[in-house]
Structures are given as C-alpha cells and as structure tokens.
C-alpha cells in the first residue's frame, strides 16, 4: 500500500492539514515545518492520491477527447495538440474512440455525467446530435466541439470553413486556365462533404461557369474510389481536365489510376486535394492541398475548454477558421512546363 498523508503527518509529527498545506504550496506553514515535510515527502517519494484529492476538490483534472474515427489523419493531429495543451495545463486526456457508434459515444459522454472527467472535446462524427444534446442539457456538463455542428443547441465549437477551402481549390484550378473541373467527393449526404460541394459550386459560379452534375463523382472516400472515379471521368463525353478531390486516400487512388493510364500530372490532369497530412507528403507529384490549421483548432478548443472548467460562465463561442491553399506541382502545368524546359 502506498504512503498516505496520514503517514507523512505521523512521521513528521504534525497534523494532516499541515502536510496538505505544505505539499500544495499554501500559505500558513512555518518555513521550518514546510522544509521538514518536503524532505520527508521527497525521501519516501510520497505522491498524493488523485482520487481522494479529486473527491475532496470536486475535480479530476482529466479531459475526455471523444473522436469519431482514429484512422483519419487530421484527427490525429488534433489529438496530438489537445493532449499537448491539456498537459501543459496539468490535465490528463482520456482517449475515446467512438468509431462512429452512437452507443459508444453515449458511453463516453457518460464519463462527463459520472464526474470521471472535468470536461470533454468531441472531434467530428457522422452521428446525430441526440447524445450530445441529452448530455449537454443535463447537469453542467462542459463540452467543446471540433468539426461538428449541432443545430439545436449552442455549444462552444471550432470549425473549419470548408466551403472556403473548396472555393480556394477550385478557384486556383480555374486561374490555371483549367476548366472542366471534376469534384471527387465522399458521402454526398454528409455535412462536411456538402460544404465542399458548395464551395466548388461557388467558385464555378464566380467565374461564370455552369455547374455540370456529370462532373460530380461521389463515393465513400476510400482509395479504390479514387480508381473508380478516374474510370468514370475518362468515360465522359468531355473528360475533365482537372480534379478537386476531397480526401487524401481518394487522391492517392486517383493518381495511381492516372499514372497507370500513362497520363501526366499536371500536364494531362491537374489535381488539388482537400487536406494535408503525412499521406499527402508521400504522394508524387507534390500535391497542391487545402491545408487546415489543425494545431490551431486543437489549441483553441483545449484552451477554451479549460477556461470553461475554471471560470463559471463564458460567452458562447463558435470559431470558424480559414483553411489555406498550398500550391505545389500537381496543379500547375505552366510552371511544370517551364521547369521541364530548363
């Protein structure tokens, strides 16, 4: 059994409360007493029991990080950042992978209600808001959302303007003189994907081009969908001249197919990918990507959550961050041509 406050108090010959004050750096302890206490604490390597402390102070110093899907690269980067911030502020992070299961999400939200965590961050999801709403309405559960929008309730949220991201991508392609832009996207019904489609439409519209549904290739987001997308694209009466792809895996598949078909990127087909990750970094040619400020999202969410925990009431917040276009070889045929001429 580990040492307790009581043990230390006995050893030093003072009351438990005095030891408590000493190890918590509180005033009201004589200099000598404090030194002696800390000496003993050090000597016997005493560590306070967090559960007892938590019970007494009504806090756990643990945050729940509820993630819909750990295989999504952008989630990992957000997790990384949240963990970092939380730790700097003296919080631990419980990792909760819902795998897009509503039951698991509910279980994890229960952590909040059972006082096992001081607050929670939810990252993305294809699920409905039901669980969140129930949790949020009950008690004083503290929650911040990333990449997820609740409709009926005002919960602090950090979002990316995906419409803008898609707009930037398509605008860039148009400025390269590449018309006939196909969009290869994931689930048509998902909120995030529909945002990207909206951005795509906006850009076309701003450049006086007509929206043509046959250039919209929707799939489920896997690598093989990229392959299929290319097959469908080249079969069109007027095949596209460029692609805006809404995730990295489909981009990888698409590029593979393009190369296998003996075509060149960007000369024959230009490409912009939504999302930047370790995946896009290994794809050839270097990809023009819509990069999201993932670290910033994680940071804002974590810091806001901790503020919420420590201050009673804070004004509600919905923060919308802008993505950034990073231009590389996959979308710039003119530049490539010049390069190759040299």
């Amino acid at each position: 059994m580990a040492l307790t406050l009581k043990d230390i108090a006995k050893m030093v010959g003072v009351a438990e409360s005095t030891v408590s004050r000493a190890i918590n750096n509180k005033s009201g302890v004589g200099e000598d007493t404090r030194k002696e206490i800390l000496r003993i604490v050090e000597k016997y390597n005493y560590k306070p029991n967090q559960m007892a402390r938590g019970l007494a102070k009504q806090e756990t110093r643990i945050l729940a990080l509820i993630v819909s899907d750990l295989s999504i690269q952008s989630h990992l980067q957000i997790i990384n950042k949240v963990e970092e911030i939380a730790n700097n502020e003296g919080y631990q992070v419980i990792l909760c992978n819902t795998r897009n299961s509503s039951a698991r999400e509910k279980d994890y939200l229960n952590l909040l209600e059972r006082n096992q965590v001081d607050g929670g961050i939810i990252v993305g999801s294809k699920l409905t808001d039901e669980n969140i709403i129930n949790t949020s309405l009950r008690g004083d559960n503290i929650l911040v959302l990333i990449n997820r929008l609740t409709e009926e309730l005002l919960i602090p949220t950090v979002l990316i303007d995906k419409v803008e991201g898609a707009y930037l991508a398509v605008k860039h392609l148009l400025e390269q003189g590449l018309q006939r832009i196909a969009i290869v996207m994931g689930d048509y019904n998902s909120y995030e994907e529909s945002e990207k489609l909206a951005g795509y439409k906006n850009a076309l519209n701003d450049y006086g081009l007509e929206y043509d549904e046959s250039y919209v290739i929707a799939a489920s987001g896997k690598k093989s969908d990229g392959h299929n997308a290319f097959m469908r694209a080249v079969d069109l009466p007027q095949p596209p001249r460029s692609f805006f792809v809404t995730n990295e895996l489909m981009t990888a598949g698409l590029i593979e197919s393009i190369k296998m078909g003996g075509y060149l990127i960007p000369e024959d087909f230009a490409i912009v990918c939504y999302g930047e990750s370790i995946l896009t970094s290994v794809i050839e040619p270097s990809l023009t990507v819509v990069a999201e400020p993932l670290d910033k999202m994680g940071k804002i969410a974590a810091e806001y959550l901790i503020k919420l925990i420590n201050e009673d009431s804070l004004s509600a917040m919905i923060k919308v961050l802008k993505p950034e276009l990073k231009i590389n070889d996959s979308s710039t045929p003119q530049i490539i041509n010049k390069k190759r001429e040299d």
Copy 2:
C-alpha cells in the same frame, strides 16, 4: 450538483448501502426494493461518481498508455487496439505522449504512483530505462511494455522479432536473384535499428555473401533521408541493385528519387520496406513490406495488463511475435516483366 447515492436513498426511503447493492447488482436486496431503486435511478438519470467509487474500492479503471511518439503510424494502430480492448473490459485509457522526453515520461509514470491509473502500457521509446526501473521498483506499479526492452528488470513485454523481419526481407530479395542489397536505416545506435541490421547481416551470411559496409546507409528516418540515400547509393562504384529500407518515410523519399532519376521499380531497383501502414498503401508501385502484427501486440499487452491488475501474481511474460513478409510489385522484377509482356 449531480445527484448522489444519498439523494437516491432518501427518495426511495432506504439506506445508502441498499442503493449501493442494488446498482451494483449485488445480492441481498429484495426484489421489490431493487426494482424501485432502479426505477428512481433511471428516472433521475443518476450516475455513480467514479472518484468516490475508486477511492472506496481502490481502483480507477483507467489505464495509462504511454507512447514515445504519436507520429509513428505503427503506434497509432497499437493505440487503437489497446483502447478497444480496454474499453471492452470496462477501462478508460489515458493517452500519454512523451515525445521521447524523459521528463514527460517520468511525469506520466507518476500517474501510476499517484494511483490515478490502475496500470500502464509503454509503447516504444528512445529513452533509457531509468524512469521505468524507478517506477517499477517502487510500490506495486503494474506495467507492460510494447516494443521496448528493459535490460535490468523483468517486466512483462511484447516484442517483435525485428531481426527475423529484416531477415525475411533480405532473404526475399536474394531469392529474386538480386544481390548487392543496400540497407537504408535509421539511427545506427537505436536498439530497433540495430536489430534490423543484424537480420540483414544474417541473411547475407546464410546466402554466402559478404557484408559490405558501404551498402549500409544510416540516417535519421525522415523522408529526405530517403532522397539522400539514393544519391549516395548511385555514387558507389558498384551501385546496389535493391534496397531494404527500415521505415516508410525513407522509403517514400527513396522511391521519389529513383523515379526522378528515370529508373524503374522493380526493374532497376527493387525495394522492400520494413513496416506496413496507411503510408505504404498509397506508395507506388505497391510495396513489398515486412508487416508487423500490431493489433495482436496491442491485444496481448492490454489483456495481459488487465490480468495483472486483477490477479495478484502472474508469471512474468516476454512475448516475441513474428512479422510477416507481404510480397508486392516493388521487389519482383521477374513477375513484373511477365505482367508487362502480357
């Protein structure tokens, strides 16, 4: 403030102990009483406070998952699996990213000593064993290691036989008739990398080939190291005919350079990569890889840890798993030639 046992007891008109028995499905509660209690519990959505429960039962049902580096793909898969198993067994997982910092590792191991977790799993690391040894010797801290070997202490451990993995890779290349095999590896001094080098040597030896240091290209493991490796390789008086690369990022870099040089894979240079992940899945041509049973490692470690927590003494365990070679296009020139002839 959330409802407590006391509140429920009052509402039902019974003692706290009775409510406790009822919600814990313990015997010794009348059928009617139990039903009534559960009805009220349900009605008011009462959730027991885990800290109080933990304090009373001396358990947290939380595990610490201490990871040296979250940017390593194989770690993510292990994390995923550990989280899954832990959850099935009713444990939460605290994510601890040490970023290979000894101070942070120590902090996280403190969680064990502060009774904030019931046990811990450490995944990989470049650090010395000092922290682990200190923690392990003090108190009855429960720890399992993955991909990390302590020399001075017998701690339950799950390892991969990396010597064997490298051996399989190099043997395969030799069997393709590809001699002059270069090894592109990470830090020469790291334990894991030296194991791979050993496997490389063993294979050469078994095939009666001499070990030639000029074919050993050591770097730090980044993508750019792959580029540099190729430059160094082609500068050799007798350039290698194939590469065994010890991680995915360097493989990506190497392949990029090979392609930019106008060479073909596997016709001009054959490649085997140590490690299989989402990264290798997007690299072209399809990579021959040494695949590690990551899920199995996570599963074994998590299950063993939970056993350790629940049973007092278990025989020490060091489990060494075997990796598997998955053969694809990047290493089989003959097959590719046949394919292309068709």
